[in-house]
Amino acid sequence: MKPIISFKDFSFQYNAQKNPTLKHINLDIYPGEKILICGASGSGKSTLGNCINGLIPFSYNGKIDGSLKVDDIETKDSSIFELSTKVGTVLQDPDGQFVGLTVAEDIAFALENDCVEQEKMFAETLSAARKVSIENRMNNAPYDLSGGQKQRVSMAGVLVDKVRILLFDEPLANLDPATGKSAIELIDQIKKETDTTVIIIEHRIEDVLWQKVDRIILMDDGMIVSDCDPAALLRSDLLKKYGIREPLYLTQLKYADVDINNIEGIDCINDLKLDDKAKKQIVKWYTSQEKPEHINNNSNILEVEHIDFRYESSEQILYDVSFAIKKGEMLAIAGKNGAGKSTLCKVICGFEKQFNGKILFNGEDISNASIRKRSSYIGYVMQNPNQMISQAMIFDEVSMGIRNIGLSEEEIKERVYSTLKVCGLYEFRNWPISALSFGQKKRVTIASILVMGPEIIILDEPTAGQDFYHYTEIMEFLCELNRKGITIIMITHDMHLMLEYTTRSLVFYDGRLQADKSGSAVLCDEDLVDKASLKETSLFKIATDVGIKDPVSFVDCFIDYDKKERSHGKQSS
């Protein structure tokens, strides 16, 4: 069979970069294949995707060596328009790529640009909408849709072109776990119905493997380091080596010393078949573990009592929310988009005002304190650092929050410097912010809050869009702050974060606080997982398969063991 995409000794270098981003790529993809391209941030996986859809070299300029043929067309001699009739691309941000004022218009966008007659356009738009089951929302505006629905619209928008190749650039990055799961199912279904070739670029391997893929291409530093079927890759130790998180169930099997070479269905948790020997090994591992216990006897730092909230003249968002947080806790707030998580945090910070209920800080009622007043004890870090940074220089940015409160220039300098030291940014203190990486910018925004001396920091999705390495880096930094006594509250979709870095999770849906228990207990509760749009952990499935009566304690043991292993690994390397 002839490949539909063929890279031959292909290299690419952006005009603004010193070194090539892609180096001597050789890769053939055949019609009807489903391929996962993975790699850490900066491995070149997105660049590879942009070469296939023509954004490179027609939108991002640079130097190409070697050859890339898509459906027998040499891309560099083609145009982005010709390639877009072959390759349909669904980009990462479902909001940014929604250009129409309504669902129907957005789906029809490519047809409009192709001068298709209106009658034909109506029919084709509707049929594409049906493929992704969004046909009942044709006249909805983007802000009436959830993230998952917007992504469906994007898919329909490329399906109208009858493309032969579908390219998904980090399709899971902006979705909650349950929506991500159904996105992966939808991709699989579309692939089967339309007989297209599917390429998924993503670093969340376990989530993509929810439905089978044919091959995984692993990239590192602009090169392909592995190109094989998923089972072979999972059995190797390449994922760990190149900074990709391996599926939790796999790590578990390795810890229990199960011989993964003899396990069937290792590439998909749904197909995993554990033999008796493996089951025995897992039970043995579990019984040999000390059961971890987390006890926090501190006094309450924050108490939220019977909060009701609604925006003027719209539906109620929060109903009778009450909980207490102890000093020094590190906890997660989870739940569907629109469940009221962010709104709750805004109410706590005083950005929005509740119409019922009380908020107590260290026992003192702060329900009516101003935003500025509350900011001296509760800090709020937004998801996207660009939304917070307003100064060109790091020092100015971090010092902003403590100006106009009567400190001398000397005192300001002292406080900023000591904060920068805590955040590992001291050596950059005279740098312009534009020279920093995303993760460093995130630290600057945390520093700019920390400098005001808050006792609680609330972070909105601190690890969104981060690969395993950067995730670990940010989380370890937050742990360090936590050890210094700062209470940390995180709004998150990331279930690894809930399991690994929090002692407790508050789960919301339908505007109510529905559960208040450990991350492992949440993710082993099938009913809760379903209603709050989460996804149960694969460890739970193993525990039930093996017949362990208390899956929550099993998960806790795993997390505890994993932490020790990882810090041990760090010390030895």
Partner: protein
């Protein structure tokens, strides 16, 4: 969500059923005729037309209350200011001077000045219902296609659509950024000095511009990947087909404009002068 001052009010009426292009032509005809003519007879006729259009649209005055109030205030202000700045423009224009009473200094209330100002106000009163009609009865999705129909290049007319699409997003961004900056002492409240407020608004605009710029990159890519700019022309999903009533209305507009201009220019200038 988006601003509630002025927006599309979906209904089923004769005006709603007309295509956006037709309504744009009606709007332009009225605007030009209004702008060019000072002939009171023509203006009065336009006023009758414009008010009947408003009734045809089934839009109630209460639905455009805010704008109507704004119009009244605007006309009153305009009336007063016109008099203050040049109380003798009317007599100059009409070449006669009928003093009703004297106020002070050069301020005489003359019949000519009052008539001149009446004409100016008339123009606003005519223009207002037509402008509101155009906006309130045209689906925003149809704007861009209407503009492109009357000859505006689609790359430009599509930007209208894009602006309508992303303005609510930017408003949300602005709101969130302002809140988080306020927590760091960037206040915009009434108790802050004006100079300080201006300085502080820059601290909110900077992050807003940065986040918007990032978004523009993504939007541009997404549009290109779906063939925007491939052809010289494009079709529009939301474009309404022209019907017989559309052609009739357009023909009427042409006749109205031509006749209106002939009547206006009868006396050698664009005035109707009852003072001769």
């Amino acid at each position: 969500m988006a601003n509630k001052v002025l927006n599309y009010i979906p209904k089923d009426s004769f005006m709603h059923r007309l295509s956006g292009t037709t309504k744009l032509i009606v709007f332009l005809t009225f605007s030009f005729l209004c702008g060019l003519s000072f002939d009171t007879r023509v203006l009065l006729f336009l006023l009758v037309l414009s008010i009947s259009c408003f009734f045809l649209s089934h839009i109630r005055l209460s639905e455009v209350k805010l704008m109507s109030m704004f119009l009244v205030v605007f006309i009153v202000m305009n009336f007063i200011l016109l008099f203050i700045f040049n109380p003798n423009y009317g007599p100059e224009l009409y070449g006669s001077r009928t003093v009703l009473f004297h106020i002070a200094g050069r301020y005489d209330v003359t019949l000519e000045q009052l008539f001149y100002q009446f004409n100016v106000s008339l123009k606003y009163v005519i223009g207002f219902p037509v402008a509101i009609l155009f906006i309130a009865t045209t689906n925003p999705s149809e704007f861009a296609s209407s503009l492109s129909q009357i000859g505006v290049p689609y790359r430009i007319s599509y930007s209208v659509s894009l602006a309508l699409r992303y303005i609510p997003d930017i408003q949300t961004d602005y709101h969130e950024i302002a809140q988080s900056q306020e927590a760091r002492g960037v206040a915009l409240g009434k108790d802050v000095k004006i100079s300080e407020r201006i300085k502080n608004s820059v601290k909110i605009l900077m992050p807003l511009v940065l986040t918007s710029l990032n978004r523009i990159d993504e939007i541009a890519n997404s549009m290109q990947l779906r063939s925007f700019g491939k052809n010289k022309k494009r079709t529009w999903y939301m474009q309404k087909k022209m019907t017989a009533s559309d052609y009739l209305v357009i023909a009427f507009c042409v006749v109205l404009f031509v006749v209106g201009m002939i009547i206006t220019n009868q006396g050698g200038n664009n005035l109707y002068n009852p003072f001769i």
